[in-house]
Symmetry: C2
Subunit: 467 residues, 2 copies
């Protein structure tokens, strides 16, 4: 207890000190290793899987988070293969993939020692109980960065409601204490059992330890120093992009005025105002590096919005054109895209969803993998041997020292004249621009109008592919 507490204070003090020294020196906020990896990853899939996938009913989050599932043995995937999930991620062009180790039922998809409500209770005895471990193993095998999503804000089984054990008096306090230690124990298990993780995602945040929520930040920092911590009321190393549309508005800055985003009333002032405007846009003058995540379920079409598999939802799978739109309006706007995919009762990603994601990758590849000219040394200019038609461009700045470019425009050499063809404020990890109609030119160049310190373009590519 005492050791943990001391560790906690040392870690938190160090984090705050580092941030404050940076601020004192007037420095631009820089990403840590995890944040840089997060921006570079660009596209990932998240797989939601929980007991109620098997209940044959439509999912209602409001109900589900407070109503315990009566029979855990409905959880009987007939052909469980989490490697197929990871292969689906690979086929989608995703660089990272996440699995819901627990969601709002509290049921753990791995044989937790601290949370007895887990897959081991199913008594399968077939060696497939550790979905999380198998998933992470498959990720490493297929070169996908593994991440874990852990829901500790709700737990319908134990009666945890927005980080609080329900009830009152001594019994409530004992249960709160039990739950807090259990959640911390799960975080330690996830952080120590499976090797380095890319991201740990606390659903709705992990709350405020000062108000009795599990104290998870020191655990993650101790055991997974290079894992993206997302998030609690003490720290957010990335931020929710303000919608579950898979898109962010332009501009979407990697920086934010607060070091955390909180949840509900625990949020810093203004964070949740104006339809999450600040979460969506970020703040170029923000003192904290906190890039955005644009998340969306694959099954979000036809007024559906399904993070979990449900029967008869095939028409909710977004068409390729919409997925491409998401990609362009998230990755192409300096956010990281996370698409929710729903393994079904067979334990596999449905073939329809999988093939839709394959088609999506084909389109992304068609649009972005055949530039007119490879990115060269002199990266701010692209010169062609002869006049070429350009449909769209992709730009990227080096974020190692922070997001430094604040204003730029693109000029094209058209019939011997440099013509301004587009402009922007935020460039960041990626800036895509599709011209209304293709531009005929012999050269393209980036002109940086406004920046901090010494920005560096690391990629400038032009394409001629009709969308």
């Amino acid at each position: 207890m005492k050791d943990t507490f001391n560790m906690r204070n040392i870690v938190i003090s160090f984090l705050v000190l580092t941030l404050n020294i940076a601020l004192a020196l007037g420095q631009v906020p820089k990403p840590n290793k995890a944040q840089l990896a997060w921006q570079h990853a660009e596209l990932g899939l998240i797989f939601h899987y929980d007991l109620h996938v098997f209940d044959g009913e439509k999912y209602s989050q409001q109900e589900n988070r407070i109503a315990p599932v009566h029979d855990i043995h409905i959880f009987q995937p007939t052909n469980l293969d989490v490697e197929q999930w990871v292969i689906t991620a690979k086929e989608s062009g995703a660089r990272y993939a996440m699995i819901t180790a627990t969601h709002e039922t509290g049921f753990a998809l791995y044989p937790s020692k601290v949370n007895p409500y887990n897959t081991r209770a199913l008594g399968w005895g077939n060696g497939k109980e550790d979905l999380v471990g198998d998933f992470i193993k498959a990720c490493r095998k297929h070169g996908i960065l593994p991440g874990v999503y852990l829901g500790i804000r709700w737990n319908s089984f134990l009666g945890i409601h927005d980080f609080k054990a329900i009830g009152s008096g001594q019994q409530q306090q004992y249960r709160q204490d039990y739950y807090r230690k259990m959640a911390e124990g799960m975080v330690k298990e996830i952080c120590t059992w499976y090797g380095p993780l890319f991201k740990i995602w606390f659903d709705g945040g992990a709350g405020d330890p000062k108000k009795g929520a599990p104290d998870v930040l020191p655990i993650v920092k101790k055991y997974q120093p290079d894992c993206l911590f997302y998030h609690n009321d003490e720290l957010a190393e990335a931020r929710w992009g303000g919608s579950e549309s898979g898109m962010v508005p332009y501009p979407c800055w990697s920086t934010f005025p607060y070091h955390y985003t909180g949840t509900g009333t625990a949020a810093p002032e203004g964070v949740y105002a104006d339809d999450y405007a600040l979460l969506k846009s970020g703040d170029p003058d923000g003192k904290y590096f906190m890039p955005a995540m644009a998340d969306a379920p694959l099954r979000g079409d036809n007024n559906r919005h399904e993070w979990f598999w449900e029967p008869d939802d095939e028409d909710a799978v977004y068409p390729v054109e919409h997925l491409l739109d998401m990609y362009i309006k998230s990755v192409g706007r300096n956010a990281t895209l996370c698409i929710g995919v729903t393994p079904d009762t067979s334990g596999l990603v449905p073939e329809l969803d999988r093939s839709r994601l394959r088609e999506f990758k084909s389109e992304v590849d068609r649009l972005f993998s055949s530039p007119l000219k490879d990115s060269s040394e002199e990266v701010e200019v692209i010169s062609f041997d002869s006049k070429r038609s350009v449909s769209h461009i992709s730009l990227s700045e080096d974020l190692t020292n922070g997001q430094l470019i604040r204003g730029f425009h693109i000029e094209a050499l058209v019939d011997g004249q440099w013509v301004r063809v587009t402009s922007g404020s935020s460039m960041g990890n990626k800036f895509f621009h599709f011209f209304d109609s293709p531009i005929s030119c012999t050269s393209l160049k980036i002109v940086i109008n406004k920046s901090i310190n010494s920005p560096r373009i690391i990629s400038f590519l032009a394409y001629d592919t009709t969308r």
Copy 2:
């Protein structure tokens, strides 16, 4: 749901109808098969085993029933052998033995499918997870009647407090519903997985299904028609003898004025008044057959009272003389004795406790297994060839048609004169009497002064063994 409900009503209606017909006919209440077996069993052991046996701390019931155990993996008996428990019962002279399938933590000692908080979550994988099943199997092997104790009134893990899920509103209702179905599911598992049971014991009763408690009676009646049901607010087929001293006062009648005893405020008027006087004595005119249980922990000496094993409690093991006193003041007063034995962290009954119980049986055997004359046809009289010294006697009436004898005395033929040497009201299954000093006589006879219908003595034995 509907089927269960109908089944429930049919069963309850039938029970009530049967009892009422008996009452209308002015009949003496008769035991059913289970109640007769309960009276004949006379002596049993109950084994309490739960997570906190392993916490190295003193047990506090008030705390334990509301404070979840943080780490279930402390439950690691080094040498678990439930057959040794049953052998201990056999060696004690017990005819039945019970195991706590769940106690107040809610942790099930068997791989329940409806309660995921069970031994399977330990992940032993050594085939020893089903303590309940193995215990019952060992009982059958050694000729012991198997019983199961199921605690559903409290559940520190799920936050069940006196049959109620803590909390409020819709979430409380969902949790109450979950818990109720889970408890009913466990009862069904216990009643259907392990063959015929001698007794099912709901700790503190199973509550009132009309007030939201699990509806367990129809399940037990359906699947275990010959199992003693002990008890809920609808029915008690036996009653608590009013103390945990292992003794009842004399007389202790097998009948009771109510068909249930309830718990706390749910009890019929007067049941819990006057230091449980009515539970202790019963009522000779009671319309319901409901014999008493005298229970006590083996580790109850030196002001201790331990149903669970705790470290450094060896001096709490009752001496043989006290155990014998219990036996005489329970079995010898028409009650059934139940001694609580505490397997320790090794998974075995401690050798001290086991040998103490062996010694106890030796004493019981010494006192009661060598009568001066075998019980003969003419059972109400014992005649010796010559004058004999008699230290004590044991009487037994046939309870098949109810407890019929209401007054009797014993006469001895001393120097050619019939002398009254003792008298009693209740005889029941067993009536022991130790004379202050041995009686020298050539004959003994029972004189029944007061009875209903046609009572029948089935055993009348005299002994000459100094206690």
